[in-house]
Symmetry: C2
Subunit: 499 residues, 2 copies
């Protein structure tokens, strides 16, 4: 086999893996949106079979030789593709099959225990199962880290955002932990002194009209309905498959904002997926780079654009027409409601000013747990102390504290930082887009996402996995990923009322 | 590896194949019900990849040794399962990969050509592409037949209804071809002499009410909504996966009968799938036996039960309440409309009296083509001549003649007979159920499918693929599969007005 043939053979293998991934993507969407409840066990074992098959294909003995022999011939994308293939292969072979299986089973048990423990607000009830997950996660992280030359936590992080390192995150989060609490105090003082309208619109907001508004706004933002769908599920997400990007939302007839903002958030994710380079759809290099950039795209649309004063000026009259309920649809009322700041216990309900505090808390604690510096026994106390430091709140119970998220019970250690890094990257991208695209604010004031999305396409989407998150951010914005743009954005919007 | 281990290993392989089949089932449903149009190419190549993977798993060199070595240990179901595994394996290895691929591509081309040719009603435009499909189908049938010791046509037939043979079909179809034309004449004469009400109900029939009626009737028939769904698609079907059986229909607000009868037809298919033995769900022996029994279950519900006078007595007042349109909802009007006989050109629109003539025409011609006794050049003339013989109609153009069905362009030679055999088996099963279950007609008059479905469960559904179609029919009814029950049913319902 010549070197070129080895590369081509490797592409064929990864093309098949990508077909399996797409099948798994549709099956996952189907489970959450369509599947009858009686199919849950059978679907679970079916998906496990497909994942096992996927793992076997990737870790077959011949693959190591194939990837060692493969030569991408100097083409930059093929080189990047080969590097991705090797990374994925190394990660997959690093963890023994028995450990993968043990971790998977431990996560299933721990997830069930978590549901019951959260209900009872009793972290101690989860601890034994979570301890098994933590131990196996550490073992797995050590194995992957050993092969990739990374610390255990970096090995975990690398699984969600390839190339991201603790050394990049630590100084950025330190800046946020230092600057955000006093900034929050200022924002809350300023907010308290202003009049906030009681509501926007009057309601009720019929589901059909909310859906119509969402679809119309998705279209404005550039969502391609020929290559995607909008549906309803209990927990909104962006999923599906290549060329078939499916977002979901849920509706509340007493408040249209959660569904509207949710649809725009998921549309940000979807624009990324739909904007990936068509030539590399079925190869690793053609996939989205990772969770940080993914979250940056959803937050850029939701936080930077949709919750802006400029966009509110466009959206308020459109909404007034869509709901036709005789309520107050001034852009000022809409803007106020989309930018209300209120420290709270629950991460997923947090506004953009308080959100990073939730992530920093989790990031600090999960690195300490992975590095063996914090035991699960001490977790609730440590969690609550950090929430007090950063948000000034006294956590009343575990349900509103360290039991609120599913990530740790599901084995998703190393995932949390991507959320906050995404928020920072979103601010940095939007600032750069504003500098690069003349009149950008004006287009957004007209509900025209075209110039912005064109910029995102070339700056982020089309680069797919051809470079690291850090490199893509720096190329697009001229600066390393940092907290400056985000902090400036918060000051502008919440202290100067100019965002 | 011990013999027992070999059997267990084989079960594990087929369990994985079954997970792939279920994934392909959901992807196929999704394509027809949910998928955005822009995903069609990507989905097509993804599905081809999964099918290729499935073929590779089944035909891997080690599998032949494994199946040769496996010993089912005397248990009847395990023995039957092993026999099914060997049959599926032999069929798969019999056809060289290059031929499978060539046939698949030829069918794709031919399907596209068929759509255009049917539009133009121009069989000559399809002939070159169809000739390639026919040639490759014959080659494939010879290869499979050579391995299984079957004639080429029997090899094709065996792919849709394992164990079914031309020798079984020929005398049965000969009886139908002899007895049906004079019977049809009598039926039409009798029908002409009676008054047929102009309509049942008044309409329009809102989709939501049609759907509500359909769901309610599915429930009466025993469809388990926890393990299935009802949706809308352009062409109704029963699909999905194990424990997740999904049927579809389409609605016409000017006529509720097509959707209603369609839902009940697909419910018959679904009852079969939902009634298969839970212990064997992921093994070949646990699957439905084949297309003849599948069609028998849908036709038993639609033709034998739902279109009966007894069921009309239950259904008419229910429908009157569901549509509440002030129309004529007498059970007599409903029954007349469900049992109207009218010879026509289109197979899928045919009533149960004229339906077999469409099948016999296709069966005779496709056996002649596979056996090299009829050329495609002579097909239209031969087709039209047989329609004239059996139905007394002059086919005006190819679109309403040999171009109407997608089966041959798609390479589905040997499929047609199952439709008519299913109709015969349905009549024979229903007759046997009536003899075995005291008061069966009374339960149907009350809209109670319970006793009937209980009988079908043990007589047909629970036997799955543990025996051949012929054996299952004979065990359930005490007689070989034949035309007698069907002909008696037609005479009773259409000449004596007692069905």
């Amino acid at each position: 086999m010549t070197a070129l043939t080895a590369y081509d053979t490797a592409e064929r293998l990864f093309s098949r893996l990508s077909a399996l991934d797409d099948a798994l993507g549709i099956l996952s969407w189907d489970r959450d949106v369509m599947m009858p409840s009686g199919a849950v066990d059978r679907r679970g074992s079916g998906v496990a079979t497909l994942e096992g098959l996927r793992h076997e294909l990737l870790t077959a003995p011949a693959v190591a030789d194939l990837l060692a022999e493969a030569d991408a011939g100097g083409d930059l994308w093929r080189e990047a593709n080969l590097a991705e293939m090797r990374r994925l292969h190394m990660r997959a072979v690093a963890v023994p099959g028995a450990l993968v299986e043990a971790l998977s089973k431990a996560c299933s048990r721990s997830e069930m225990a978590w549901r019951a423990a959260r209900e009872e607000s009793d972290f101690a009830a989860l601890r034994p199962d979570l301890q098994v997950v933590l131990d196996l996660t550490r073992e797995s992280a050590q194995a992957v880290g050993g092969v990739l030359g990374l610390s255990p936590y970096d090995a975990l992080l690398d699984g969600f955002d390839p190339g991201m390192r603790q050394a990049t995150i630590a100084p950025v989060f330190a800046t946020l932990a230092r600057d955000l609490p006093p900034l929050l105090t200022q924002v809350l003082e300023r907010q308290a002194s202003g009049a906030v309208p009681a509501s926007v619109g009057r309601g009720p907001f019929p589901v059909a009209r909310q859906e119509g508004l969402g679809r119309m706004m998705m279209g404005r933002a550039g969502f391609d309905m020929m290559r995607g769908r909008l549906d309803v599920s209990a927990h909104p997400f962006c999923g599906g498959a290549t060329n078939d990007v499916r977002i979901t939302t849920r509706y509340d007839e007493s408040d249209f904002l959660p569904a509207f903002l949710g649809v725009m958030h998921e549309t940000g994710h979807a624009l990324y997926e739909q904007g990936l380079p068509a030539a590399w759809l079925n190869q690793p290099v053609g996939r989205a780079r990772g969770m940080t950039l993914h979250e940056s795209q959803s937050l850029l649309i939701e936080m930077q654009v949709v919750r802006s004063r400029a966009f509110a000026e466009y959206a308020a009259p459109v909404m007034a027409g869509a709901f036709d309920d005789g309520g107050d649809w001034s852009s000022g009322a809409l803007y106020r409601h989309m930018t209300r700041v209120e420290p709270g216990f629950i991460r997923v309900d947090a506004d953009e000013v308080t959100y990073p505090a939730h992530i920093i808390t989790r990031y600090e604690l999960e690195t300490a747990m992975i590095e063996g510096r914090l035991s699960l026994r001490d977790l609730p106390e440590a969690f609550n102390a950090r929430v007090k430091d950063l948000l000034g709140l006294d956590v009343p119970d575990d349900r509103r504290g360290c039991l609120q998220d599913i990530h740790w019970p599901l084995g998703l250690w190393g995932y949390f930082p991507c959320y906050a890094l995404g928020a920072l990257a979103a601010a940095q991208f939007f600032e750069a887009a504003g500098a690069a695209v003349p009149g950008l604010a004006g287009t957004i004031r007209q509900g025209d996402f075209g110039p912005l999305v064109t910029w995102l396409r070339q700056a982020v989407h089309q680069r797919a996995s051809s470079a690291s998150t850090v490199r893509i951010v720096e190329d697009a914005t001229g600066r390393p990923l940092g907290a400056e743009s985000y902090l400036a954005h918060v000051r502008r919007r919440y202290l100067e009322d100019a965002g």
